[in-house]
Subunit: 476 residues, 4 copies
């Protein structure tokens, strides 16, 4: 009897997902090799494709491919990436089809010369600008919003590339942490609201840019500072120059970088991610206490919050769910019905730790609720007497339009259900979310964050949902 | 001891090479599958990459890959190519690096909608137009001249795609047999001089376009007629419409399609290829007679000319060179010196047929002379008493700028050497070329051909050689 | 500048490694599919190769390949594995070259019919028996000790396969958990000392065998009991039959299965692995207390012991080392010297958790000491004030000859160095191992274990080290 | 609409097929590289798998893989094949499944040391001997008859490997051209009847063995002589020694090597293949004359016979069928019915050469008749007025048991149909075979040939058909 279904465990994951990580190196004889390592350190921000563009001074060199960094780049590819400066990109796949066309960095030739660009974020007015550009005779080969920026740069009447970049970005709204490369420089820009992170580091005489500081650690570079919201950093023969070309706007950094996206060993928006994550667990324990026997974090993302919850609540932590790290990209499901199949490929309950216990499950979010429902059920099958779910952030009620891959609003269970309805759906004995105020306490009462997915309070207006979702409805 | 060199037999081939084949199907429920077969029938026109774009009415679907048609397209790829109309492309690699970016058909989105295009030919003023477009703010992602046409279409002020195509092509000079696809139609265009072939066929209620008619045979379609030089054929919901939008120019069809490029079972420019090829051999025997024992064609391309030569000269034909069809893309050469290694991987002399014989070797061209020299030497090593080389066309003195991959002029041995010098270089006992007049006799005194590679008489002016060769020096 | 070295992170791991996992299913219409899942659940026991053999009653079907289970088995392979019974095997690679010949299960044909076999363990007298068999005219196609058993079975004068298996195994010494498959039954055997685990499970009307019970969970099977040391379980048309064919011997189960090998969610040798592992941490805290600020486990293997240590010592647990799970099989190292490169690809220190702290690092073993030295140094670079290393077992002084891949004795740092010398080598402020008595306390004073690697007290004699290491020196 | 069928053009070929080619080199610093080239020259004898075994004096090295030689062996593989002596093997796949286990050369270890072997032929009593060996306790890992020989060698009581080989082969009946390799020598043996070819060559101080002499040409070696039927040639430190260890038997060399298998540029059984092949065509023209306009050979195998037929009959030769050499291993067939699809992928009729012509089609055999039927029909569709089929050998009435892959007798159309019935089935206007006497005339009245497939007169008895066909019915 033949197997019936191929499942994709990596995609069967009920989380929001970042769409990209960016990295750049200037003035290092092994610029491409270091970028390769940097991208490896940012691999959690995107596993679909990886690419590097380097400059040997006379021209740019580019290599891109589908899959993980270590798979895309072998000796042959790295050898071809000549030169002392390089930028790189990892991309998260939103859906099904592998699409090499959309893999970044993009490289184009224009009257401003050869330009490469790597982008983390999302430009909310890209469709409108693209329509205007098409009317003026531009042609588009991808569905990416990033291509729009390149057209604007090429069409800018400003003299010089930097002025053209500023000119182009002033026409765009939304989230962007961008790294450009030309034949002799790399340029980092962060949008005025600073949605997505971007950091500046140093390695001897070399300068480094990275979405997260954890990638600096890997190459022995030191964290210097964040590129500030609205700042453009030009790193070239004339040294490191900083510009503030955009009118100031209120800062709205993505708070979910702390909750889930960023690696715990990164410094992001001026704070340690793991520290915030643990504080979220502590606040959660204060707001949503529960009488239970064990605190069981859902690995890997719930670990720090689970530890915080345990410390605050004095309920002992147990590693009651074990993650299987050998999960491949695809997996064949037998006809034989297997309970919690998709979840079980990745997580296995440790029966003896759960059996007859009142369990507090700590997780970082509930998106559709389907995975939570499976986990609760699996934990219960393993003998848990009670299952109390605690989420280390507020209910996710709105999609993100600023560079995060999220389902449509209608798929977000919290957008249309009360906490108690969600509790019933996931079959938990109790369910508690951290409040927005609790989140603010965890981040030290700093209010310069975007919390749109918890509040529907979107700092930058966006077109109606259907258009915003996939950038250009008509294509790919 | 390790092997020293990897050789590339497919590239170690001293011929001119076509750069592309194009194919299109309209109004067939299996449009992509038939295009796949059509491309298989055009595989000899390009083995580097293959691509198909189909339309399901609402949008275009595209699949491209490096390598042969049968390798690029598996069930998965073909299944994704939905719709009743499709176009396809095979491309010959000019050099080294595989480059998926340059694989066609290209697909873009513009104010004229989604457009896919497959191109066989070369636009000689592409660099100049590109420079102008870049100054106007266009960005380029490939080094292909075809991308220039797409920009011109997108920027055209003409209403409607067909008018825009005409508008764009009027700005271009050179060789083009193009097939476009939009959501609801396919459009075939041939440049006013008709450098490259393009044929129209029919399969039941479906229309078909192909570089050569041999691809019609494979899918049971029937040859209807050539698309005429300067003709645009629009095949869509309104049926097949023919336009003559360009000012008339003298026709200059590529005579080398008869000599070498096209498959012998094709009808090209109104004549059977094999028939012309055999007549070239007959004319050659008349012009360049030789007293010899056997006529040995260099397989596969010299077969028909060899037969013609043998019939005319009454010297018996012998298959004294055997082709090995298992030659892979790369081959490892041992350190041990092996005589005629590269040639011997593909051709083996049949000693008993050559030994002590006066041999007439029939080949279709001498480009650099290196391969001919190896073959002559190999035939002599096999015991031939005399080796007389006869070439079924005139000496190749100039490169082609109209869509054929040729070495630079300085590498063409006949551009700087007399026939006798070439004879000495290839170590033949005698060497004879067919004259241009002989070629004309073979094609029936029809003079509507481009013979630039034999005469340096270029029907369309071209920029200086360095620029013309690789389209854009700066990039890839 | 080109990269200088390719490193293999998966091999650059200073642990002992299990050599195999075995699995079997009887009487299930999707026997091969379930075996595929079972092997996925045993993937931690071997990642080099994977194989499945099924029986369709009339004949056996086999599929094997290099790499992870999810890579070796796609729909095509699984579809070919027809039948209601199947066995499978995953193998750990001891060194360099991938060798499909050595991938199990082996299948042979003999006078006893078709037999497939999957083996976890090592037969210490295999070389001697092989020499004898070769003298009697046997031929060998692999260097595997398992092939020796098949020869003995084929040559046995005993009637019936089961008797022949017993006859053969009586001639072998060492460790074996074996699963055989014939056209109509599967047979599980565990050596009299029970070195390696083997469990019996049930799924409805089907019987299942597995190295570890965690694989039962994945397919919804229930754990029934361990196959006992010295037991042979025949599962066939006549039901499940148990035999005790071997003279009884003292039981010596591998205690390191608890310390490191087995998955924490498995039941092994009658106990929960995670529970023992946590108790090892508790005992370690009692025996080797230290005044410190944080307990940091080395993930993933040190997690449970770290939790136990923290609970016992009341020193808070912190996840101060983050594991990167995207590490590929090979990785290119730049010329640029990067500190702790190999370790850093897999582990990143969380600076803010370590900075200025007195850290207790909890790990499960020190083999060569090289990795510990890198980790200590990395933790210190991250700002730790003191680094105290605590190991949740006794010093590893001897290699294993019973189915575990270990370096030679001379490479085991504890075989020739005192604890203080090791401490100095790894540059720790203090180093403490759990005593053997402490280990016994953790496992509940049950003494039926092999502790040879901690005591050099080998329960089964073995030939001199050079021969034991690679089975047959002469071949592969 | 999805494509419906994947077809395998290489297998959809109505010919008998050779099962193997063997090659060996002694005393050359690049033994493996030369073997690689030699196998390339024998590629027509087997495309399923390729393998090489070399000796570095201390041990053997082996590499095998599925597919063509140029695909299996890359630099990495060749580099591993150290040493001054090597043997190689190419194998033809009889059916469906790729099976690396059966790829040769085999390597085993036994009391006679390490031995590698490459075999062309078939041992008709292998099943019986295998049964006996299994009863004596031998185990078998493949379904190959060659493995039987290795067991007999290992079990031989004779001293020394050569004596053991002779001892083993004396127990075997059937066809074998074998090359063995040990650490210091290579040994070539041909069965007493000499069914399959084997030649000895020389390259400087090196000795070479090859199934066909065409492989010598490729490496610049010279043909020395055939290894004689019943001869064993030992090439080692003591030089080249020749033995005649077997009782003499009448010689019965495979006449079909001349008709189809061998390459035309080979010397086989003391004669030039192309020369015999052309004489077959001449004899055919004498025996089966026909009034026609053109002689059209079916490429590539019918070319020489076609030329012979044309010369004898004075009917002009035309290349009316063009072979497409880009056919891949698999091809997707559309739902759309396409006439003669499978044949048309490989052969295209040249309409203008066939239209309104009386055509003599020259082919080398009719096996099932299915392909001939398609070709005749295709030629007729291309406009031929009459189609006369002429076959350059006698009707194929019996399967081969001596190393050739043939269908069962019941599938051979000539085994149960008269020539006129076959003519009607293939829809030819006339059909003529060459007589056996005509074949003998073509080979110069030498009668030392096996003609069993034309006469059912089998020189070596064989077991009943069902067993002989696949060696061991039970397995693979």
């Amino acid at each position: 009897m033949a197997p019936t279904r191929v499942i994709h465990p990596a995609q069967d994951d009920d989380h929001f997902h970042d769409e990209c990580g960016v990295f750049g190196v200037y003035n290092h004889p092994e610029a491409a090799n270091l970028t390769y390592l940097g991208l490896h350190g940012l691999q959690h921000r995107g596993q679909e494709s990886a690419g590097i563009v380097s400059s040997s001074g006379d021209r740019l060199h580019e290599e891109r491919g589908m899959g993980h960094v270590a798979r895309v780049f072998k000796k042959t590819q790295l050898r071809r990436l000549k030169g002392d400066l390089a930028i790189g990109h990892v991309r998260y796949s939103t859906a099904g089809k592998s699409n090499l066309e959309n893999a970044q960095p993009f490289v184009i030739e224009s009257c401003k010369g050869e330009i490469g660009v790597a982008h983390n974020g999302n430009l909310v007015n890209a469709v409108a600008v693209r329509d205007r550009l098409e009317k003026d005779g531009s042609i588009f080969r991808t569905s990416s919003d990033t291509e729009v920026v390149l057209h604007l740069i090429a069409r800018s009447k400003q003299d010089g590339l930097e002025a053209a970049i500023v000119d182009a970005l002033k026409q765009m709204q939304g989230a962007y942490s961008l790294i450009f490369i030309t034949r002799d420089r790399i340029i980092g820009v962060r949008d005025p609201r600073g949605f997505r992170p971007l950091s500046l580091g140093r390695l001897g005489e070399s300068q480094v840019l990275s979405s997260e500081s954890c990638a600096f650690d890997l190459i022995d570079a030191t964290f210097v500072r964040d590129v500030e919201p609205g700042e453009m950093v030009v790193i070239g023969p004339a040294g490191v120059k900083s510009y503030r070309p955009f009118p100031p706007e209120p800062v709205s950094q993505c708070i979910f970088e702390y909750v889930y996206f960023s690696r715990p060993d990164s410094q992001v928006f001026g704070r340690s991610v793991h520290e915030i994550r643990k504080r979220l667990g502590r606040e959660l324990a204060k707001e949503q206490p529960v009488d239970a026997d064990v605190v069981v974090p859902v690995p890997d993302s719930g670990m720090y919050a689970g530890l915080g919850f345990s410390e605050q609540s004095r309920i002992p932590l147990e590693f009651g769910l074990v993650r299987n790290h050998y999960v491949g990209r695809t997996f064949i499901e037998p006809r034989q019905a297997i309970r919690h199949f998709g979840v079980k490929l990745k997580l296995n309950p440790v029966r003896a730790l759960l059996s007859d216990k009142r369990v507090v499950l700590i997780d970082d979010s509930i998106v559709r609720g389907t995975t939570s429902r499976k986990i609760v059920s699996m934990v219960r099958s393993a003998g848990a007497r009670e299952v109390h779910v605690r989420i280390s952030c507020a209910p996710t009620v709105g999609p993100c339009y600023y560079g995060v891959d999220t389902p449509r609003r209608s798929e977000l269970i919290a957008s249309s259900h009360t906490v108690d309805e969600i509790r019933r759906y996931i079959r938990a004995d109790s369910l508690g979310y951290l409040s927005l105020e609790g989140m603010y306490r965890a981040v030290g009462e700093n209010r310069s964050f975007c919390t749109a997915c918890y509040t529907n309070d979107y700092p930058v207006p966006f077109p109606k949902e259907e258009e915003a979702h996939g950038m250009v409805p008509g294509r790919r």
